[in-house]
Amino acid sequence: MNTSINAIERLSGRVAFVVAAAAVLLVVFVGWFVLVAPKRAKAAELDTKATETQLQLIGTRRFLHSSAGPKSARDLKKLTRAVPTNPRMAEILRQLTQASGAAGVRIDGVTPAAMVSTTGGQAIPMTVVAEGHYFRLQKFVHLLRAAAVVSPDSTHVSGRLLAIDSIQLSSAASTSAGTGTNGLITATLAVDAFVSTPGAAVQTGAGSTSTTSP
């Protein structure tokens, strides 16, 4: 203790001033950079994070209160009507019957085959045999296509999405009995209906034929 007091007393005033100034600066530097600055940086970081989270919250709340969510639900329901998650063969038959009635043709047969994989799901290939006059058959194929039309500009869905892969027309006289056809034509159409989830089975057995008449 005495030696340190003696040492202090041996210091000149100038050296003591330098030592004191250095000690003050050391305290200020250490205090600022070790204690205060990290807290300030942390506060700024939390501030930025809070602002970002707040913006996210505003965006989410805006989305919740906007019509985008309910509109998407409505659109999805509409699209599911065009491409359901299971085959719903009854719906297809009703749609074919309705189209044939509107076009004035007669459906002689609908034969679904086993499902095949296709874009975004599975397709149910069917052979549809219809009989009618040429322009009525033209209207029939138009009605089948028009039930679901989705383009970049618009979405119209009033039934199942059906696609025709091939079409074969033959004069009714050349096909079977050939009695009193009056210009009737038999159209054999390779029609595809679509199912969005794979794994569902066609309700009617593959190869079975459903015959309807108006």
Binding site: R40, T119, G120, K139, L161, A163, I167
Partner: protein, 214 residues
Amino acid sequence: MEAVNLLPGYARPAHGWAAIGKDLSTRRVLAVGGAVAGAAAIALGGLFVHERSVVNEKRDSLSTVQAQLTAAEAQAAPLRAVQAAKATKLSAIRTISEGRVPWENVLRDLARVLPSKIQVQAVQATLPTPIAPATGSVPASVGAISGAPTGFTITGSASSHNRVALVLDRLSVLPWLSNVMLQSSTRGTGGTSGSSGADTFTISATFNSLGVTK
């Protein structure tokens, strides 16, 4: 014994900065320095406490906003899932819908270009790349010859070879047909109902679905 400078004040060297603290008492300098360092330490401590409380405040407000965001996101999650499902389905349906051929336009074009005095017995048109690849339910084209263009076949009867030539010319005009080729044109032998003496023809062509007006 203390050294005494006998030079007058103006003649003494290192006057100014070098003289600072020269006449100060060591104890006093150290006491003042210690007091200043202590004050600085107290000020920095106060600042630290303040910054710490600011950080805690910001942390609390951040956790509040985060909790609100989590709740809002939980509410929005089903809607976002619906939106994603809609986008996926829409994309798949759009691909199919835009890939379909408006067969009514094919039939309309065909009816427009076929000349009079010919009788069509069968027409078959198949997409080059069917939407459902395994469909294949329509019977093979009538009278197809190996190496002949595929996708479109028309069979009928005409009053003369000139009429058959006119059919070939007219079919070549259609934008959705290319490589129109005559497969056969046979002079009728008579006997069959309604076609006695008429030329029976088979024409095949390559069906190009992109050429069909949408």
